[in-house]
């Protein structure tokens, strides 16, 4: 009887192995916390292997980037002049309203070392870590808006969970209406915002910023612009599509917001 069983097992070992490993994979999938599943040593090895290559590729990009930056500097200088004027006007108006600015943001610049190995872009590794004061859940931004948050920190590198990760959520506010909702990635550079009240007035082109309702993202960080609004009669809420302005696959530099200091 036992021998017969052994023979059956031996005959079907490939089926049994497959079945066992599939079950084990499912257990891993459903028990692992996507934020806490990375072993620091493997992440350090990846960083160690890829950082010299990343440095070389950064050097190659520097000249091209320099030309683009020079052009942008000119544009930004002109814009700056205009903004300075607005700033003076803003200060005067705030004083008039007795409004006190109570917060400012501390930014740490970081370079992208690696974009992960999966077929889709879900995360990246940056060259700053706990030594630079980075901690878990710090928001990560670029001049084009929010792109993710820190999900894991090592001493000299950190993993950024990108906005393109299907598990990523962010509370957002539409301007000028002030309506709020929860944003998640959909496809390409489009995100869907759900939980938006049906009576909110939202138009294509409206700015979308962080709502500040969570502890992770401070309010007012730019996220994207409204590209379409779905107002289905059969649904109690609106679904708003938001266009992210940053091209995630070509990011080289990012900023990590390490603190929002109260004045």
């Amino acid at each position: 009887m036992f021998t017969k069983l052994l023979v059956i097992i031996q005959k079907n070992k490939h089926h049994l192995t497959f079945l066992l490993l599939v079950i084990f994979s499912f257990i891993l999938i459903y028990t692992s916390n996507s934020d806490a599943n990375k072993l620091p040593f493997s992440n350090n090895i990846t960083t160690y292997i890829t950082s010299p290559i990343a440095r070389l590729s950064h050097l190659a990009q520097l000249e091209r980037e320099n030309d683009i930056l020079r052009d942008r500097l000119m544009v930004v200088s002109l814009e700056n002049e205009t903004l300075l004027g607005y700033g003076v006007e803003n200060t005067r108006l705030k004083k008039m309203l007795d409004f006190k600015r109570n917060s400012e943001i501390d930014l740490i610049p970081a370079k992208v070392i690696n974009m992960g190995m999966s077929s889709n872009l879900l995360s990246m590794i940056v060259d700053v870590g706990s030594n630079e004061g980075i901690s878990r859940n710090n928001p990560v931004v670029t001049p084009a808006g929010v792109i993710g948050k820190i999900s894991n920190v090592n001493s000299n590198s950190s993993i950024v969970q990108l906005i393109s990760d299907p598990d990523f959520r962010i509370g957002v506010r539409f301007l000028p209406s002030g309506a709020t909702g929860i944003l998640r990635w959909s496809y390409n550079n489009i995100c869907d915002v759900r939980e938006v009240y049906k009576n909110s007035i939202i138009n294509v082109g409206d700015r979308v910023v962080t709502s500040g309702l969570s502890d992770i993202f401070p309010s007012g960080l730019f996220v994207g612009k409204v590209s379409s609004v779905i107002d289905d009669r059969s649904q109690f809420q609106k679904i708003v599509s938001v266009q992210i302005e940053e091209n995630l696959s070509s990011i080289v530099h990012v900023f990590v917001i390490i603190a929002e200091n109260s004045k």
């Binding site: 990375k38 292997i49 999966s118 889709n120």
Partner: protein, 156 residues
């Protein structure tokens, strides 16, 4: 023989780390390792293919930074298991059906990958889900076609 495949695995792994970004098209990257598992399984059968797939998946998951842990072992195990059934078949099967089977294995495994990664799209907007799946699959399928042209699976 197995040593040759270990070297190829290391090369594929390094290519996945260094070259996947360079070859990425609008955020979609080729998966060199899935092709390795397929080649390995076709040569060594389902048992070794499944084990190699699972092992490779675990290693990549440990080194990768953003994927659900366990998803790659599952997908690579499926490729290893199903690919293994083609082990002795490539002498008997019509080349078209043999190649079609290889492509189907990759397409099917990417469907599982996309389902786990984008299952909210699967239930909310099937059209975008299918587009995302096809976009991710087509790149690796094209790569398989090129690799098949250079090193045909039937002759490995």
């Amino acid at each position: 023989m197995i040593r040759k495949y270990i070297y190829i695995l290391i090369i594929c792994f390094l290519m996945q780390i260094f070259l996947a970004d360079i070859f990425s098209i609008s955020g979609v990257r080729p998966d060199f390792l899935i092709l390795f598992i397929l080649y390995f399984a076709v040569n060594f059968g389902s048992f070794k293919g499944t084990l190699a797939g699972f092992g490779t998946g675990i290693i990549v998951n440990l080194f990768d930074s953003g994927m659900t842990f366990g998803l790659l072992p599952l997908i690579y195990s499926i490729v290893g298991y199903t690919g293994g059934f083609l082990k002795t078949k490539h002498y008997k099967m019509i080349p078209f059906y043999f190649n079609f089977s290889c492509f189907s294995i990759i397409i099917g495994s990417f469907f599982v990958y996309s389902y786990f990664n984008y299952n909210y799209l699967f239930y909310n907007d099937i059209r975008i889900f299918l587009l995302t799946w096809l976009k991710t699959t087509l790149y690796t399928i094209s790569l398989l076609a090129i690799v098949q042209f250079i090193v045909p699976l039937r002759k490995t």
